[in-house]
């Protein structure tokens, strides 16, 4: 809660947690709260989104598997797709070329040493906490030059290739909407929720 420029009127309903929202009417001396009560709950703006319209852009997948489409793929199916569509930037074995990121690091690291040593590349294998993120990201924006061009089957095959090369799933694993959310990523247990709160001490 905070007072407006105009004086002592509280604008609690609009300005929350220390943020002054400077609306046109505050400049005119009319508190935002007063305006809010004048307006109906809804302005009836916007048009109804159609299921087809939503489906065309609703591309995300979450750790519970929501959003993962039908389809499936394996490491073996991923080999030619990776070679054709990914290797030119990420290297034949996912080692990363030039400035393009490394995707594969199958070696087990002692502990989770990234906080001590910035030179260790973070990859799908050693740093990504959720397997569904691999589907979401690759399908969303790879290959870099043709984002959104991969079919669900191609994407599942590439996800299987990436997870198997990183020794997270067996070479024979079939990736689909029910198997992928069950894959446990080794890095997951190292993630903690932000505990910074302002004030002291420094964290």
């Amino acid at each position: 809660m905070r007072t407006t420029w105009a004086g002592v009127v509280l604008v609690a309903s609009v300005a929350i947690a220390g943020c002054r929202i400077e609306s046109k009417e505050e400049f005119a001396g009319v508190p935002a709260a007063a305006r809010a009560t004048r307006l109906p709950d809804r302005l009836e703006l916007g048009v109804a989104a159609t299921p087809v319209g939503i489906a065309s852009i609703d591309i995300d997948a979450n750790p519970a598997g929501a959003g993962l489409p039908a389809g499936e793929g394996t490491h073996a199916q991923g080999i030619p797709i990776y070679a054709q569509k990914c290797a030119s930037c990420h290297g034949a074995k996912g080692e990363g070329l030039a400035t393009y990121p490394k995707l594969v690091s199958p070696d087990t690291l002692a502990g989770f040493p990234f906080g001590k040593d910035a030179s260790i590349p973070k990859t799908v294998g050693n740093y990504w906490p959720y397997a569904t993120t691999v589907y979401d990201y690759v399908h969303r924006t790879m290959p870099f030059t043709a984002p959104g061009s991969l079919t669900p089957n191609e994407t599942y095959a590439l996800v299987a290739w990436l997870l198997a090369e990183n020794r997270i799933v067996p070479m024979t694993a079939v990736m689909n909407a029910s198997t992928l959310p069950k894959v446990q990523m080794p890095a997951r247990r190292h993630f903690v929720i932000d505990d910074r709160t302002g004030g002291q001490p420094f964290r």
Binding site: L43, G46, D60, G115, K122, D136, Y137, R140, Q200
Partner: protein, 440 residues
């Protein structure tokens, strides 16, 4: 502010910008000759005596433009006619650097910013797959997911909501990474911390849009997604969305600049820049975070204790002296303003202290008013330099009592491999000859 004018003549290698600054200082004198009105309007390529071509420039990476020519006495000759857009004086050549980036950053030249607002064309840029080109007539923002009425808003409809205007900073949470990992004496404020910018934004509150769609119980997060080729996506807590989040369509009085998200972007005052999704096309009310790449594999903070901090959204208090700083040089002892920017994602800057002796003693700096919440705040401390080596530092304190940490505290607490939120105190080393270098 022109640092060359402020700090006097630089020594070689002389950058083009500094050379022009020298020339600017001489406008009105007798140095620039042979100028006609035609010549001025055409910005001729005639050489300015004393000016040197680009080379060894630490700041400027833009291609060399023709050198300006000013009449010996502008009061003796009618000026040039107005044009549809005003341009910078040809003597002023601030530039983002590096440029030509489609995934990576172009940094704001903080040393060329006066006051608190970042000129829109100097706002830093961080793209993940280039700058999206979007026709405003075909632009659409879809609000869906756990809502009663999934809706699509055109740009025109967004502008029919009550507008809100507020000034706030946007800072990339990777800002300061190279200064932390690989500090070099020859780093400018731009290179140290140029991934922060501050604008007056205008738009519509996300709360208004969510109200229109009718958020359902159980919707605890909102997935925000861009319409660029990265389709960049981030989960934002519902509390933040209902608090002060807004969809901005204007920046500093005009439509957003294309690289900053034209025609509309999300702004989350105080939160890391990556979450302020540009070219926003979709808001989906959801019941758990999406765990997109940029909230898991990226934008998480590995710590020395073998964990990684996730959802570290808020940018903590930070400050940097932008003058004097490399590559300027103090031309002699006497009074010099020590000035810079401070900001915090947790509210207002309470105080900024300046030290000229490497942190042994501190003096409270002046803050330029008004001090706005979650916005760049300008500080200045008048310093009488005695001509001896000095170490300049600034330390921001915010309204929560948070104190910007020393580099030592920062490194000990977070670890040498930490990856985001680099807000330790920065040091500038003033040498006996007046040259200034980055000291980590």
């Amino acid at each position: 502010m022109n640092d060359s004018e402020k700090a006097g003549l630089p020594e070689s290698p002389m950058s083009r910008r500094r050379a022009l600054g020298v020339a600017a200082g001489l406008v009105g004198g007798a140095v620039l000759t042979g100028t006609t009105l035609d010549a001025m309007t055409q910005v001729p390529t005639a050489k300015v005596p004393g000016a040197m071509p680009a080379g060894g420039a630490a700041v400027v990476s833009a291609p060399a433009a023709p050198l300006p020519v000013a009449p010996p006495d502008a009061s003796m000759i009618p000026g040039i006619a107005s044009g549809p857009l005003s341009t910078r004086s040809p003597f002023e050549m601030p530039a983002l650097t590096p440029v030509g980036i489609t995934t990576g950053s172009s940094l704001t030249p903080l040393q060329h910013i006066a006051g608190t607002i970042t000129p829109s064309d100097l706002h830093f840029q961080r793209h993940h797959n280039g700058i999206a080109v979007i026709d405003p007539h075909r632009y659409a923002l879809t609000v869906h997911g756990l809502v009663d009425r999934p809706l699509v808003f055109s740009l025109e409809q967004l502008k029919r909501f009550p507008a809100m205007t507020r000034t706030c900073f946007v800072e990339c949470s990777g800002n300061g990474r190279s200064a932390f990992r690989a500090p070099k004496r020859e780093m400018t404020p731009q290179q140290v911390d140029g991934l922060t910018s501050n604008s007056e934004w205008t738009g519509v509150s996300v709360a208004a849009l969510l109200k229109e769609a009718g958020v359902q119980h159980g919707a605890t997060w909102v997935l925000a997604e861009g319409g660029d080729a990265a389709r960049l996506s981030r989960s934002v807590p519902m509390d933040k969305m209902l608090d002060d989040a807004f969809i901005a369509y204007a920046q500093n009085g005009e439509p957003l600049r294309m690289p900053n998200g034209y025609p509309a972007r999300l702004l989350l005052p105080g939160y890391e820049g990556n979450m302020c999704v540009k070219w926003i096309r979709r808001l989906e009310a959801i019941d758990q975070p999406n765990m997109s790449r940029d909230e898991t594999a990226k934008y998480t903070d590995p710590l020395a204790n073998g964990t990684a901090r996730q959802f570290s959204f808020t940018m903590d208090a930070k400050s940097i002296i932008t003058s004097p700083a490399y590559p300027t040089r103090l031309t002699g002892p006497g009074w010099w303003p020590v000035t810079g920017l401070a900001w915090t994602g947790r509210g207002r800057i309470e105080r900024v202290d300046v030290s000229t002796d490497g942190g042994r003693t501190w003096t409270e700096a002046e803050l330029s008013n008004p001090v706005l919440s979650r916005a760049h705040t300008r500080f200045e401390h008048m310093w009488k330099w005695d001509g001896r080596p000095a170490q300049l530092m600034s330390r921001a304190i915010d309204e929560t009592g948070y104190v910007q940490p020393t580099l030592q505290t920062y490194r000990d607490t977070r670890g040498a491999g930490t990856d985001y939120h680099f807000n330790a105190i920065r040091t500038w080393l003033v040498e006996q000859d007046g040259s200034v270098y980055f000291g980590g």
